[in-house]
Symmetry: C2
Amino acid sequence: MQAYALTVDKFLDHAAKWCGTREIVTGNAGLCAARIDYKTLRSRSNRLSGALRALGLRFGDRIGTLAWNTQNHLEMYYATMGVGRVCPTLNPRPTGAHLAAMINEAEDRALAVSSNLAPMIAELAPYCSGIEHFIVMDDEFEVPLKLGAHRAKQWTFEALLADFGASAPWGGFDENTPAGLCYTSGTTGQPKGVLYTHRSNYLHTLRALQADATAYTGSDTILAAVPMFHANGWGIPFAAPAVGAKLVLPGRHTDGASLAKLMIDEGVTVGVGVQTVWLGLLDHLDATGAEAPALKRLLIGGAKCPDSLLKRMEDRLGAIVQTSWGMTELSPLGTIAPLDTLPSTARASGKPPLGLDLKLTNAEGVTLPQQRGVVGHLKVKGASVIERYFKHDAIALDEEGYFDTGDLAIIDEDGNVTISGRSKDLIKSGGEWINPAEIEEIVGQHPDVAQVAVIARQDPKWGERPVLIVEPRHGQQGNANALLRLLRGRVADWWIPDQVFEIQVMPLAPTGKIDKNQLRADFANGRIASAGANR
Amino acid sequence: MQAYALTVDKFLDHAAKWCGTREIVTGNAGLCAARIDYKTLRSRSNRLSGALRALGLRFGDRIGTLAWNTQNHLEMYYATMGVGRVCPTLNPRPTGAHLAAMINEAEDRALAVSSNLAPMIAELAPYCSGIEHFIVMDDEFEVPLKLGAHRAKQWTFEALLADFGASAPWGGFDENTPAGLCYTSGTTGQPKGVLYTHRSNYLHTLRALQADATAYTGSDTILAAVPMFHANGWGIPFAAPAVGAKLVLPGRHTDGASLAKLMIDEGVTVGVGVQTVWLGLLDHLDATGAEAPALKRLLIGGAKCPDSLLKRMEDRLGAIVQTSWGMTELSPLGTIAPLDTLPSTARASGKPPLGLDLKLTNAEGVTLPQQRGVVGHLKVKGASVIERYFKHDAIALDEEGYFDTGDLAIIDEDGNVTISGRSKDLIKSGGEWINPAEIEEIVGQHPDVAQVAVIARQDPKWGERPVLIVEPRHGQQGNANALLRLLRGRVADWWIPDQVFEIQVMPLAPTGKIDKNQLRADFANGRIASAGANR
């Protein structure tokens, strides 16, 4: 059979050829800021490849982006990857120091930035001497970047395209060529890079497109409310052109009003993003009485979604909610609730579609003899799963070639996977394990609790003991004893935390997850005051 | 990212692990002859791998099958491919001489045969001295094969499994390892082998599983009415376990009554096969008044399906008909009508889902400047497309890496492909091309015509001229002038055949297509008498 390299440029080629008139719409506070079809987007992206080459950027060079979900950002994806340049996507939320560390580790030779993020460049530039070109994109930007003594050149996207754009042959290289680079959130250590290849992205796309997985079709209009700097934008920048779906990119604004307007104006059929984004949408629709009649489905991922919220979304929107679990190291799709069985089935985290092997082990890495009905450490293997972190020598796999997700999971008899915590959060008390996530889920149901975390304190007798830390809803302090009572009979007695602490604001990592490292440091340094309750 | 070989054993592993209780049902004249779940089938297939190894069959060896769609046949697929042995699937319809030629070219060391095909072995064996083992499968078979002086050993499937079965590790080899071998029908020359690899089959499966393509899901029950010896059984032996669909294999009998009974008893949701099979089903349902209420969809391929038959199928069955086009050299899927848009869209041959590049050229191989609205020679490229025929040195691709399908096609503005004939059937008259398929389609609509073919006769003035050959419906001879009148105004005047011939039975190739080579030979040898009509 033919040698046919699995490279991502083929996605946009396919869209341009077979669905050339389908649109990519970019929003700005809910209004349409740009509209283009696949045929034109392909042509512009390809000419941008030529422009990047004219700047002296070579095969394998890293050309980063610090940008929202926009047409220009998508064009940067294909312009870089199409000619074997690598596109590291940066999350604008970490501090400048963190960003500079990522830029320097990746040795980015150029950085394309959304114009309204341009002020960050003034902060970054002094620490990123390796950058030779800044490209400002997404709208007119007349004011030059404040680069101080930095030697880099600066370009606006359209001027670069107009002055240096030239068609450039795409593909023609090995499918194991790197394509993108994304950093993990770093909630459990320093951010680490995941270097995606063309092959891993191509296979991830086909895996995700199965009818029991994302099932996107050429008739869909997909609203990508997940940022393109998060784990390949959950694969949408590849999957949408691969099927010729219309694509709606919301730009910077993902508040309920902006998303609702785009959804209604553009006839969105599938919305993809974390549940908090859709909560904002629901609140807006409730407040205004607006409807999004074309919407058929919301695909959510990230944290476990409470049943009550699932039901509220489905009732209010008349749409199906499809749950999933993934991570940066998995490109990112791990499991997803089979679409064909929704909404009736168990769907905590779904099932693994073909292409991901999965096993549960004990804490020592030994495969559990029983893979159903017991909590274990979740290990995975597949063509779109990391082998080693960027610039790390150590292979991140066990002897059977599995990657440790760091998650704990339980699988029911029908094969539905539920993520039930993080292994690094486990607390070892008297030689036995306590899973903070189970405690947090119960306490989190109390109406006066905004956020909750359980961490370990060192204990001379037991080794470790759990402590409960809550951020009460405004003005609802003093529930410590009630919270502990909630746990009685629902977890083992020795799992119940010894102490409760109330804090005003829970520390959050840039991804929005609770930053337990910070919390542990604050606790160790005595910066958290007890709420007085004890078992 | 991880090195993760795309090998087909992963399909059955996936089914056994995640959909272990879903069933594979084998029919016999519509009754259930065998029923097994994926978990048990996986275990048996794996132990069969061990048995084949115990017979001394080595990595890369060819172990052929001459069999209907049955559980044992599926077990042979996985038992061979899982350990890197190659499974050539033989069509029982060609003559023994043709079969022997294929067996000898492939150097099959073993052949597994359905017990009711076992009588053919007596005919084949003398010409296939290289075969060392015959395995008789599919039901009890007490009588030994008649092998004459042949030195081969013979086994029954269950005895082999019981006596030599042993678990054997699957996979662990390169994804470009050969997996299967299938011969083209040979209507336009000698049969030629297509050697599939694990990679080509794996990628074909993912490509076909897209929601706009076959869209099989774990909730489906698939009736495989297409033989497993035809082009990977249209991929169903791989796709069904890949999603955990229940699979119904009809055995030898694909008459309407047998299929209807299986369909109803097993709750079939998707039927896959050529239109003639479903025509038999329709006739049976009409005659008996039976219903198949679970059926949602028929997936058809092969010849163009008349609109009237599409409508009859959809009306009578309350199911959608999804059209497709493929060929052995494509593994086989080429184009398919996007499911999401049915039944309203144009669907002659559908569109190419991601993974197949496609272009139209002129007869000299030059890409047509306009790819829409004009008939051209269809060339394709992809990971599941042939590079060269088995044991042929010549690469079957053009300079751009495209394979010439031998088909003519036209693509409409929306990207829908219609196959409009075979390039080898084209007739060159006065330096211009006549497409017999267009003439045949029009004449075929006449109620008195059962089969129709247009071939060339040599002509001293024009080079070639078309002649029309029809097989009238019983007792409806003498329509020659009426048939020619049908063509007037619908094709160019100079396309209209000069002569009409009526024959009693149209010669058919083993696949059921009209054998134009035979027809041309018969015509040249004066074995076809004129019906007297002339333009």
